[in-house]
């Protein structure tokens, strides 16, 4: 039995056993999911999903009546063919500009094919992903800006900026994001006539700003005060010292918590679906309603969020390595 004991304590055996366990657990999870869906009689139709990401848009534009082309109005990439029938009634056909095959003055007959095309178009999921990305990128940029200045105000010795910053931070951290989004949509949005998109982005930025402010404050405070003193003793103003001495050092330290905050922000952006912004989650819900293939849709939605958050993690890791040169 000594040899079995030896085997159990052999680090290489333990390593291999651990890998085996991992594979068994993962296989078990997949099998479990499969079995569960069997029990609820769910019919998987993964083939439904790709067309919500990209779909082929095929169209044939035919003339509805005999008429004469009177004008070609170019608008963006499309051209509107304006025609008049014998009663002088105008009709319009919109086709991609590069497919226009009629000229002004030309007669067209009923049923004539004015244009025929097949194009790849982004499906609802991809559109939702793009909207989520736009909202996230804008909110992150604005959130950094708000957070930096609030963080600095929070550290100020003068009462007005300091207490305004504390008030703002506590207000935001003490209320649910969903409620803040409603306030930005129904109240701020109405007063300042904001689009849904702007209301959503502002709500998320103001929300992120409060958390980013605390991250900046902690980062700045973590820099030894000798750094500020050395900079000031060289005659640098507070602003110069912050800009060139303190913030570059603080930024390196706050990168990991900042990244965590922004990964949360990407996920939290799913809440702006409530103000009629068809971002990724809302797109998923709408597709789910029309296809009842909720399982596939939301697995796909989850995977798309993962792509966004994982890319952000990779970007931050890259930045961390870049900044690490001086230590």
């Amino acid at each position: 039995m000594g040899s079995l004991k030896d085997l159990l304590h052999n680090p290489r055996f333990r390593h291999a056993a651990s890998w085996t366990a991992l594979v068994v657990i993962l296989a078990g999870l997949v099998a479990g999911t499969f079995h569960t869906t069997k029990r609820v009689d769910y019919i998987w139709r993964w083939e439904q999903i790709p067309r919500y990401v990209l779909f082929k848009d095929s169209r044939v534009v035919e003339a509805e009546d005999d008429a004469t082309v009177v004008a070609l109005d170019v608008a963006g990439g499309d051209t509107v063919i304006v025609v008049k029938d014998y009663l002088d009634m105008e009709s319009y056909y919109e086709v991609p500009s590069d497919l226009v095959n009629v000229a002004v003055g030309q007669e067209i007959t009923r049923g004539q094919v004015l244009a025929q095309w097949e194009r790849w178009k982004p499906g609802l999921l991809l559109q939702g992903l793009v909207l989520t990305l736009e909202i996230s990128v804008l909110s992150i940029a604005l959130g950094i800006f708000i957070g930096l200045f609030t963080g600095l105000a929070r550290l100020s010795k003068s009462p007005a900026p300091k207490w305004l910053a504390i008030g703002y931070i506590e207000l935001i951290r003490g209320t649910p994001l969903l409620v803040q989004i409603y306030i930005f949509y129904f109240f701020v949005g109405q007063v300042f006539r904001l689009s849904n998109f702007m209301a959503g982005v502002l709500a998320l930025s103001v929300f992120a700003g409060a958390y980013v402010a605390e991250i900046f404050r902690a980062g700045i405070q973590s820099i030894h005060r000798g750094q500020m003193e050395a900079a000031r003793s060289l005659g640098m103003s507070y602003a110069l010292a912050m800009r060139y001495i303190i913030l570059p050092q603080a930024f390196k330290r706050i990168l990991p918590p900042l990244a965590g905050q922004f990964i949360s922000l990407i996920k939290d952006s799913s809440l702006v679906g409530v103000i009629a912004l068809v971002e990724l989650t809302r797109a998923g819900r709408e597709i789910g309603t029309s296809t009842i293939n909720y399982f596939e849709v939301f697995f796909t939605v989850a995977a798309l969020y993962l792509i966004l958050t994982f890319s952000l993690s990779m970007l931050v890791q890259f930045l961390e390595r870049r900044f690490a040169v001086s230590d």
């Binding site: 000031r232 060289l234 640098m236 103003s237 060139y244 570059p248 050092q249 001086s326 230590d327």
Partner: protein, 243 residues
């Protein structure tokens, strides 16, 4: 050059600490003054007040004719004329040695990059480490870091240099190289106010020694007088302790 008149400074942290009590002192142009005294006697606080890193409660400080206590005084302009070297070096770790020595020149003195680098290289030559210009502070020994810190302060071409225990964080074998730089500066006529317990420095280049205890200046005199025949019991007791 430096005028300190009846300065008081009290800290209120957990206890009330009277860091400076009725301190009056004067340093003339080109003079080298060493401040000694037990730990907590207010030496650092005094130096920091000279650079306005601490504000004073009462009294007056005049640097090169400019009163620090006057609200119209541009403190940054005064600080640019007063170089300070800290016990813990306080180099900027995210910049190279060259970056450390040029940043204030370009941002405060508004010198061109080329000119700032030229001045920096001359100063690094002077403190004996021109070959480290492209290194980061973390790659240097303590003695080298402190010499960079001195070069960084000198780059502003200050009229006064303040040293706060510049060698007490250093390994013994590196103390000499920093003191040599300080001695050179002293001999060149720089006005210096240094907190240090290096008797060699004090005896060789220093004009006057100030002994402080419990926030007060107890005794002032030439190095010979203070070290060999001090008037006060407290000075004697302190010297007996450190020698």
């Amino acid at each position: 050059m430096i005028e300190v008149r009846n300065v008081y400074k009290t800290f209120y942290s957990r206890h009330k600490v009277e860091a400076l009590v009725d301190v009056t002192m004067r340093v003339t142009r080109g003079e080298v003054v060493t401040i000694i005294g037990p730990s907590g006697s207010g030496k650092s606080t005094l130096l920091r007040c000279l650079n306005h890193l601490e504000t004073i409660d009462r009294g007056e400080i005049v640097i090169d004719g400019i009163p620090l206590t006057d609200s119209r005084t541009n403190i940054n302009a005064v600080r640019a004329e007063v170089g300070m070297v800290f016990q813990s070096f306080n180099l900027f770790p995210h910049m190279t040695v060259l970056g450390n020595v040029t940043i204030a020149q370009t941002k405060v003195r508004k010198r061109s990059r080329d000119q700032a680098e030229e001045i920096a290289m001359t100063l690094l030559q002077k403190v004996g480490i021109p070959e480290k210009a492209r290194s980061y502070p973390s790659q240097l020994s303590g003695g080298q870091q402190q010499r960079v810190a001195i070069a960084r302060a000198l780059a502003m071409q200050p009229k006064i240099m303040l040293f706060d225990e510049p060698t007490s964080a250093l390994d013994p074998e590196m103390i000499g190289e920093v003191l040599d730089v300080m001695k050179t500066l002293a001999r060149e006529g720089m006005t210096i106010c240094a907190v240090t317990h290096e008797m060699g420095f004090a005896r060789e280049v220093c004009d006057r020694v100030v002994f402080m205890d419990e926030g007060r200046i107890v005794e002032v005199g030439t190095p010979g007088k203070i070290f060999d025949s001090p008037d006060h019991e407290r000075t004697k007791a302190f010297l007996a302790q450190i020698l």
